[in-house]
Symmetry: C2
């Protein structure tokens, strides 16, 4: 195999400045923030992930408290954590029930402690480009779901965001393929990138949709169009794209490397490997996983929630 | 076939007093309330259902406005209806996308116009027996999801709620089988009935759960236990039950009539027929469908939302 022309960039490299930002912000606090992880899932992989979260949190200066509960008791434990003044952030290891009851539980996490940014309010703000929770004062920043936000930070690091373009339009002209349209990551990610000026082809098992900024200025809302016709297939669209992002949670799925144009930026956010190693012969920049960036962003969200709480409590001088 | 010992009760009979209540309440208003139905679904059955809703609304004194939109424009139309002061209630004909995006859209319906009671807030209040939206004043009543509430009204009509028992415990001693554990109907229904004192066996494709009132008084929360073991099968539990409720959305599914003890109260809330006709030889009281009660309850919810709005606007004298 010939030497790759492009480079593989590890998440640890990209995460570094965010980890440093977080460590330094925690040191300025008068207390050690506490993140509670609620595990009501018998999957050993979830337990491993929880242990990994724990280690990362502790290493960056946070308390991490793992609460293991029977799934039928999860709601009660969650309410307790919501009410506990010593708990600054809460995350639940989903799936728990694996059905819509998980959405009910997800919404039950207080928005004030929702480090993952999963609350309906935060998604709504993302889709409509709403940056603050308290208009017209605009002091409390809205939280962004952590995986989509991590992806934006990764694309910034990789230079896909063009800093010479005006802020808010720095993906202008870019075509991005996103293989995943989950409500947690794929759809909000497509909207975020479209809001920043990209043309996004969002692929799921049913169809391909195109997300663009659109012109619905009254709602600050991206435009979504179902793409139909022979020219709109992954086979035809992928080679046109500047960036290909995958998040297919299956060991069996592999994105066809032959569809990737030489020099493309390629990012996989699934915990499964969505590309065979030969992708390194094609990709300009290849990021094989993003977990370390996501967790740094999650802790950054936790600090933002603490800031918002201070503002609500009047501990920060208001400049109105 | 011998003459049935029991009776079949039609939804129209049970709906009548609620229809009358609603007609009379509308007449006392200074305006004709408007319900908007958003249809972004190409299923002809959804269109038929919308037309049926329309006729029912008009016949009971309400304006009904059907808005047909492309599904990618549904969010924008929904926001417009949320903001339109002339719109008192909103319902969306789900499924639209058929995935979690539908939950996002469902949560987007303003709680102040959510006639179906689908907002997270209302489910949360149901699960925790919270009756009012504005403690400690307790003037604005919380909305209950309309199908579970319709079921309670049906069980009251059928005499399953025992009025001699204290309010809040009128299902004491009753065993109820509910075949459906959807987040929209089956799970909240099981919780409602457990909160009223029943032992509920909640069946879905994965397992059987038992809902009882439990003793989590601090959270006002019912207790859920997974039932495991040979004695906990539908075959063994169904013949012990006083009430059997089904809601399986499939023409192919039939509940085995031989499991129904003679004299059991039997109710089907699926739009498919979950029982063969021979159920009439077994059931004490049989309600083959409940749609007409549900729509009457939906309009009752709409009037409650109008009342709440008046209270918020200070149009109703406060007795604090």
């Amino acid at each position: 195999m010939s030497r790759p022309a492009g480079r593989t960039i590890l998440a640890s490299t990209i995460a570094k400045p965010y980890q440093e930002e977080v460590i330094s912000a925690v040191q300025k606090l008068s207390f050690k923030p506490t993140l509670v992880g609620l595990l009501a899932n018998e999957d050993p992989a979830a337990k491993m992930y929880a242990n990994w979260t724990s280690k990362t949190c502790e290493s960056l200066g946070f308390n991490y408290k793992l609460v293991e509960v029977n799934k039928n008791d999860l709601e009660t434990s969650l309410i307790k954590a919501n009410r506990d003044d010593n708990v600054n952030g809460i995350m639940v290891y989903f799936p728990v029930f694996g059905d819509k009851q998980d959405q009910y539980l997800q919404q039950l996490i207080s928005p004030e402690k929702d480090v993952e940014g999963l609350n309906f309010l935060y998604y709504h703000n993302l889709y409509h480009n709403v940056r603050f929770l308290d208009p017209p004062k605009n002091q409390q920043k809205s939280i962004l779901p952590c995986t989509p936000l991590a992806m934006v930070k990764i694309l910034e690091y990789l230079g896909v965001y063009n800093k010479i373009l005006p802020y808010g339009n720095r993906l202008y002209g870019k075509k991005i393929l996103v293989v995943n349209r989950s409500e947690i990551v794929g759809r909000p990610l497509a909207a975020l990138l479209a809001n920043d000026g990209a043309t996004v082809y969002s692929v799921d098992i049913n169809n391909i949709q195109q997300f663009t900024r659109g012109d619905d200025l009254s709602e600050h809302r991206h435009l979504v169009v179902d793409l139909k016709g022979d020219e709109y297939t992954v086979e035809k669209l992928a080679p046109q794209c500047d960036v290909i992002i995958t998040g297919v949670p299956s060991e069996n799925y592999k994105f066809p490397v032959n569809l990737v144009r030489h020099g493309t930026v390629v990012i996989n956010f699934s915990s499964s490997k969505n590309f065979d190693d030969e992708i390194k012969q094609r990709a300009g920049l290849y990021v094989p996983s993003i977990g370390k960036v996501t967790i740094a962003i999650l802790l950054r969200n936790l600090l933002r929630l603490i800031d918002n709480k201070k503002i609500r409590a009047g501990e920060v001088a208001e400049d109105v």
